[in-house]
Amino acid sequence: MLKQALNLIRSGGIFPWTVTLLFYGFVFAVIANAELPALPDQAFALRQRLWENNKQDFRDPNEAFSIFAPYAPPQGSVSFITDVPYNLYSMDIAKTFSAQSYFVPLILNPFPQENHAFVYCSSEAIATTRLRESGYQLRASLGAGKGLAEKTL
């Protein structure tokens, strides 16, 4: 029985017509039922502004780190201290990555290895703890756990 069925398929008796028609039917059903996610109404206006290169509507997500810009050397490297020590599996690393993206070509070292550091913590208390842990002393405060620090150890 199985042998006969195989022979029928091999000789082209069933395949290709049946299979091909079924396949086209399936593909057509998939295409016909496909739908794209809904978009907010402002998408059209935003697209227009993007074409016009209106940068005010598209603020750089890394701009929060511009508070360090007046103190950043053009090249070299500084450490970047955040709420928790560097950990690849913590979302806190996004801060370091964003800051790095903003300050290219200056290199931000996520480890407390450089003479100077940018401190970007959520509060003064966390900043104080992190500075003590990593052997830095705050040299200039930029408020709310942010500031510039220098290596003491």
């Binding site: 082209g12 395949f15 399936f26 998408a43 935003l46 993007l50 090249q75 290219v104 070509p105």
Partner: protein, 485 residues
């Protein structure tokens, strides 16, 4: 206007490069081949030019990269014009269409059905293409910076190229280990090249590049299946690709996986076309595309190694005269040479902090990771199963692929059509490679699967669609003397 020029310049360069290499050789559906390949190949060449320009003279890298790409385009154009003036016929040389398309007999119901199906496919394809481009352009402003990799790997490296040409090698600093200093530079290169052209860190250039690769994937399927199966199959496969969610999603995120998927698929399909037709210059194009895959992401290097092994076996068992046996491999290597040189320079002299192959691991560590326990293997199996059978994402692509393989293995197929097994083999070996590599990940396996696994399937998904459609829609038995080479 400037943006359009920035887009068309690599397209033109890519098309001229392919035209010069493939001049005078018969190639089915050449116009669709160029439509699919022009932008990715041009972008890849521009990226390589930029890398070498920065290596030679970093402080003048911006000027050199733009001038060299324009000079190359002009030189290729001059060469094509002068050659066509000398030899006007050879450039138009092409294979005749497949026998069942040669004459339209209205009494032939099967042929009529194919024509109607083909027209329906064409309209569906155009409709879907318009819809996804519209969706892409409307979604882009909502996340113009792209996803994690786009922001923190590719754009970051592009900024080193653009902002401070003299200090561009800062991107390889070991202090930036998290940005993968050893990653290849195709995307950062083309991004910086476009920024140089536009004179600013243009927000829109990244999404435009991403869209270029995405649309090229659809045209790649249209070219291959139109050329080697039927017109209807090509249009339907292209449309099917456009309704696959993962490719559109990751293109919007501006990840490198869609470009990598394109280059892998383009290399395999061109290789298949080369084996079918025996045209050695197609091996060169396949090599160039494979090299660009390796220049896109490290996974491309695995693919390149697999392709080289396949070609080695193919050449060894082809059974022709010894002097001619290794020609395909030699042409393939000829195409690979420039991208591979760039990768060797990158890995050996610049970004030397690799993650998978590093001094921290001994041979027995690899052995332990590969065969150390069923838990890891089981987890990887589950990841493959869950993702491949997700209808919401893949719309049955992998089931079509498996069904195609089953039915094709039952059916007697002879001649050039057997070459479709190359595509099947490529999908199988690419995923087998990932299966093994996932065992060796230096990261937590669950973390790796959660963050990267869905994207790994993009690398072979286009080939799975190509094979599935070829296997399940090969309608007509070939008449005597007809060939699909």
């Amino acid at each position: 206007m400037n943006l359009l020029a920035a887009v068309f310049s690599p397209c033109f360069l890519g098309m001229l490069t392919l035209h010069v290499v493939l001049h005078g050789i018969p190639l089915r559906n050449r116009i669709f081949f160029y439509s699919a390949m022009a932008f990715p190949v041009g972008a890849g060449v521009c990226s390589l030019i930029l890398f070498f320009a920065y290596l030679i003279c970093p402080s003048q890298g911006k000027f050199l990269s733009l001038a060299a790409s324009l000079l190359l385009t002009t030189a290729l154009l001059g060469y094509v014009i002068s050659r066509n003036a000398r030899d006007p016929l050879s450039s138009a040389e092409a294979l005749p269409p497949l026998a069942h398309f040669q004459k339209i007999d209205l009494q032939n119901k099967r042929l009529l059905a194919e024509i109607l199906l083909s027209l329906a496919g064409l309209f569906l394809f155009l409709g879907a293409l318009f819809a996804v481009i519209q969706f892409f352009s409307l979604s882009t402003p909502l996340n113009v910076w792209g996803g994690w990799d786009a922001r923190f790997f590719w754009s970051l490296k592009a900024k080193f190229f653009f902002r401070s040409p003299a200090d561009w090698q800062g991107m390889f600093s070991p202090k930036l280990f998290w940005s993968h200093p050893d990653y290849p530079l195709l995307l950062p290169g083309i991004q910086a090249w476009g920024w140089h052209w536009l004179g600013r860190e243009s927000l829109i250039w990244g999404p435009v590049v991403s869209l270029g690769f995405y649309v090229s994937c659809a045209f790649l399927l249209v070219w291959y299946l139109r050329a080697y199966v039927s017109s209807a199959t090509g249009w339907f496969a292209g449309t099917f690709f456009l309704v696959l969610g993962p490719y559109l999603f990751w293109s919007l995120q501006q990840y490198a996986d869609v470009p990598l998927g394109f280059f892998i698929a383009a290399s395999v399909l061109t290789l298949t076309a080369a084996v079918r037709s025996g045209q050695v210059r197609l091996f060169c194009v396949s090599g160039l595309l494979g090299g660009l895959a390796a220049w896109t992401k490290n996974e491309g290097l695995f693919f390149l190694a697999e392709a080289a092994v396949f070609l080695g076996i193919y050449c060894a068992f082809r059974g022709r005269r010894k002097a001619r046996d290794w020609k395909p491999l030699a042409w393939f290597a000829g195409g690979v040479v420039l991208p591979l040189l760039a990768i060797v320079i990158l890995k050996v002299f610049l970004g030397t902090t690799g993650e998978y192959l590093g001094p921290k691991r001994a041979l027995h560590d690899y052995f332990r990771l590969l065969f150390g326990g069923w838990d890891r293997t089981s987890l990887i199996f589950q990841a493959f199963f869950v993702h491949m059978t997700s209808f919401t994402s893949w719309k049955g692509t992998w089931i079509i692929f498996a069904a195609g393989a089953l039915l094709r293995s039952l059916k007697k197929i002879t001649g050039a059509d057997r070459c479709a097994w190359i595509v099947f083999g490529a999908v199988l070996f690419i995923n087998l490679g990932y299966f093994l590599t996932l065992h060796l990940t230096p990261y937590d396996l669950k973390f790796q699967i959660q963050t990267a696994f869905a994207r790994l399937l993009l690398h072979s998904g286009i080939l799975a669609v190509a094979f599935g459609f070829e296997a399940l829609t090969l309608i007509l038995p070939k008449s005597k003397g007809q060939t699909t080479s």
